[in-house]
Symmetry: C2
Subunit: 427 residues, 2 copies
C-alpha cells in the first residue's frame, strides 16, 4: 500500500508556519487532554492539535476497520497493536481530510470546532503505556568516549561491543513527557580518594541525547524476530533524554549496570513520528567491521538522517546550544537492536520503548552528553551570563530538538524540554 500521506506536494487547509516540524506530511500520533478535560488520541498539523477521537466519532474514518473507541483512549497501545497496515490507512486518511483540496471538514465549521484546536490549548501526555523500556548503547563514539574516561583509554571499547548491540533494562515508571520537571536525585557516591561512600544530592547530573523507538506486539515468548522483519514491528520514534547522575553511576554500576543513576527520570517528546513519515530520510548506516553474526546482518538503508540539537537554558537566562549531532551516527540500527533483543525469545509488546543510547558524533561539538562535551568537567562550557557548566545546574532547562529535511519537506519531532529542580523536599 503506498504511503500517500507522504506526498510532498500536498498542502493543508490548516495554516502551517514555515519550517514547522509538523507539515501535513508528518502526521505524528500523541495523547492529549483537551480544554474540556477529555483525554484523547490526536495528531498535529502546524500549530493545531487534531482530536482523532472526535474525528472518528464524526465518521471520518469510515471504511477503515477500527474498534469504536480506538482513538478515545489515553494511550496509543491498542492502535499500535493493530499493525502497520492500519497505521498507514489512518495516516493516509488524515492527510486526505486535511489536504487543501478536500472541503469536507474544511467547510464544516461545527465539526472543525470539535476536532481542531490550537496546540496551546491542549496538555500533552505520555503517548503510550510503556510496559518495558530498554536502553541500548549503540553509538561507537559514545562508548569509546565513556570507556576512555571510566575505564582503560587503551582499550576503550569493550570486547563484546562490536559484536552485540549492548543494552540494558531501564525503568518504565520514571518516564515522563516533555514539560514535566525532574528533581535532582539524592544518592550514594564515593568521593575521589575515599574508601567510604557518602549520601547526598548528586553533584553531576547529565543529559543523554537519545532517540527512542516504540514497538508493536512482535512475538510470543520464545520466538525471535528476524532482522529483515524487524521494521514491521517499529511504529515510530521520539526524542529521549536519558537523565543520568554520573557520580551515583560510577559507584553503583559494577557489576550489574546503571540503576539509581538512571531510574530517577527519563524524558521523551510527546509526539511519536511514524517510520512511514521518516521513510524519505533513510540512509545507509556506518560500515560494520567485523561483519556481525548472521542473525544481525542486513542489507540496504536502515539508518536515518535526523539532525539533533541540545541546548541548556539557565533560569532567567539565555539558551546555549551545546551539541549538534545526528541519528545517522548510530553504529547499530534499530532493526539490529530489535532482532538482538528478541534473539533469545524475549517477548516485546505494543508500547514498549527502546532507547538508542547516547548519540555522539565524531567531534566534541557533536557529543551527546555533558560527560563527553566537558570531558568529565575538565573543559566547562561558558553560558551567556558568564557562568560555567560542567554538568547541569538546578533550575537549568535542557531541550532536545530533532528534524529531518530534504529539498521537499521537513519532518520534525518537536522537542523534549525538561527543567531540573533542586532535590525533592518531603512534606
Amino acid at each position: 500500500m503506498p504511503i500517500t500521506a507522504n506526498n510532498p506536494n500536498r498542502k493543508s487547509w490548516l495554516d502551517v508556519p514555515q519550517d514547522s516540524d509538523f507539515p501535513i506530511q508528518n502526521i505524528p500520533f500523541g495523547v492529549f487532554i483537551t480544554k474540556d478535560d477529555v483525554v484523547t488520541i490526536g495528531t498535529r498539523i502546524g500549530d493545531y492539535a487534531i482530536d482523532l477521537g472526535a474525528l472518528q466519532q464524526l465518521n471520518y474514518f469510515e471504511g477503515i476497520e477500527l474498534t469504536d473507541d480506538m482513538f478515545m483512549q489515553d494511550t496509543l497501545n491498542d492502535f499500535i497493536s493493530d499493525g502497520k497496515k492500519t497505521w498507514r490507512l489512518v495516516r493516509n486518511r488524515i492527510a486526505d481530510i486535511f489536504g487543501s483540496e478536500n472541503s469536507e471538514l474544511r467547510d464544516n465549521k461545527d465539526h472543525r470546532t470539535i476536532i481542531v484546536c490550537h496546540i496551546e490549548d491542549v496538555e500533552m501526555q505520555l503517548p503510550v503505556l510503556i510496559g518495558d523500556y530498554t536502553d541500548f548503547y549503540s553509538s561507537k563514539e559514545h562508548a569509546t568516549n565513556v570507556g576512555m574516561m571510566f575505564r582503560d583509554p587503551e582499550n576503550a571499547l569493550l570486547p563484546n561491543w562490536l559484536h552485540i548491540p549492548v543494552g540494558y533494562h531501564g525503568r518504565s515508571s520514571s518516564i515522563v513527557p516533555s514539560g514535566i520537571p525532574v528533581h535532582r536525585p539524592m544518592g550514594q557516591s564515593l568521593p575521589l580518594g575515599e574508601t567510604t561512600p557518602v549520601f547526598g544530592p548528586s553533584r553531576s547530573i547529565d543529559f543523554e541525547l537519545e532517540m527512542g523507538f516504540i514497538t508493536t506486539d512482535a512475538n510470543i515468548m520464545g520466538e525471535n524476530i528476524p532482522v529483515h522483519e524487524a521494521e514491521d514491528y517499529i511504529f515510530g520514534m521520539v526524542l529521549l533524554n536519558d537523565w543520568s547522575a554520573r557520580d551515583i553511576q560510577k559507584w553503583e554500576y559494577v557489576p550489574l549496570g546503571p540503576f539509581l543513576a538512571k531510574n530517577f527520570a527519563t524524558s521523551i517528546s510527546p509526539w511519536i513520528v511514524t517510520m512511514d513519515a521518516l521513510e524519505p530520510f533513510r540512509i545507509k548506516g556506518p560500515k560494520q567491521n567485523p561483519t556481525p553474526l548472521p542473525y544481525l546482518q542486513q542489507k540496504g538503508k536502515h539508518a536515518y538522517d535526523i539532525s539533533l540539537e541540545v541546548s541548556i537554558e539557565p533560569e532567567n537566562g539565555e539558551a546555549v546550544v551545546v551539541s549538534n549531532s545526528n541519528f545517522k551516527y548510530m553504529y547499530w540500527s534499530m532493526c539490529q537492536q530489535l532482532a538482538h533483543h528478541t534473539s533469545n525469545g524475549c517477548r516485546v509488546n505494543s508500547g514498549d520503548m527502546m532507547g538508542s543510547g547516547t548519540i555522539s558524533g565524531p567531534t566534541s561539538d557533536s557529543f551527546g552528553s555533558m560527560l563527553e562535551i566537558t570531558w568529565n568537567g575538565k573543559n566547562p562550557i561558558k553560558m551567556k551570563d558568564g557562568t560555567d557548566r560542567k554538568f547541569i545546574n538546578d533550575n537549568d532547562s535542557v531541550t532536545i530538538k530533532g528534524f529531518c529535511k530534504n529539498n521537499e519537506v521537513r519532518i520534525g519531532f518537536g522537542e523534549v524540554c525538561t527543567k531540573l529542580l533542586p532535590p525533592f523536599v518531603r512534606k
Copy 2:
C-alpha cells in the same frame, strides 16, 4: 488493627490436609480462571480455591469499603493500591467466614457451590500486572561465590557491595506463573580461548532460587520512602526462579549488566502470601558490618525465616533435591532494598515486583544456583537415573518450594515449577 486472621487456634470448616501450605492462617491472594472461563481474584484454603469475586457479589464483604468490582478483575493491582488497612480487613473477614464456628457460608450450599471449588479445577494466572521488575543481588554468599568464579577470588565482593543493596532492572514482559514452560534461549557467547563469539542455543541454563516482593503505590516521582516506613508498602511475597543463561551472561554483562541472559524468562509462584501472614516468622537479619549509611539503618526484626528447597526432575525421571536454603540468609532486608530503590525518587507503583537475588546459604547444599552448586560445572550433580547435571537439561523441570513453620502453624508458598523446553522452532 489486630491481625485476627493469624489466630493459630482457628480451624476452617473446609478440610485442610496436614502440612498444607494453605491453612486458614495463610489466606494468600491470586488470580485464576474458573471452570466457567471467568477470571477472578481468589484465595486458597487447603486444596480449595475460593472465588473472592463471587464472595463479594454475594455480600460477604459488607462493611468493608471496596469498589463494586474489586475482586472481579484479572489482576490484584487495584486491591493492592487500596493499602494495608484494606488488605488486613479483607483477610480478617475471610478468616472469619471460613472459620469452623461461622455457619453463614458453611451451611449455604448454593453459595458454597458458587464460591468454593477444588484447586485442580482452576487455572492460576499471574497475580499482578507487573509494571516494573527489579532484581537485587542481596545474598552475601551468592555475591561472593559469583565474584570468585567470574572475577577475582581474592576480591570476590566488589567495593560497593557492603554499602549498597545492589540491584538492576529486569524485564516484566517475560515473567510467567508456575506451570508455563520456558524455552532454552539462543544467544551469543564466547567459547573458551576464542576471540570471536558464536550464536546458538545456550549451553548453561541455570535457575536462581529467589523470592520476590510485591509493592503498593509508594511515592510520587522525586519522593523517597524512609527505611522505617518501607514495610507499609510491601503487600506480600512469592517464590521466584530467575532463569539465567550463564554463557550469554558472561559475554554480554560488562559494562551494563545482564540482559538477554535473564530476560527470556522469570517464573513466579501464583499465590502472593501477605506480609501479615508472615508476621510470626520475623527474625533479626545478619549483622551488617560496616554499618550502612543512615538512610539504610534499621532496628528490629526485618528478616524472615522461610525454608526454601529446589529440586530438578528429569522427564520421566525422579526428582532430586539440589538445594535447601532459607530467606533468612539475605544480607539486605526488603525494607532496605525499597528505601534504597526510592532514595533517588524513583517511582514505585502497585504491582511492581522486586526480587531478592539468588538466596545462597553458607554451605554448598544451600547454594541457590547450579553455577554455585556445581562450581561452574566442576562438581556435577548425580541424578537418580545415573546422568549428570552441570546445568539444566532440556525437558528437566525445576521446582522451588518454600514455607515457614513454628509450633503452631505452617504458612507455605506452594511452588513454582517450570519445565525447560528445547529452543523454540519458528513456524
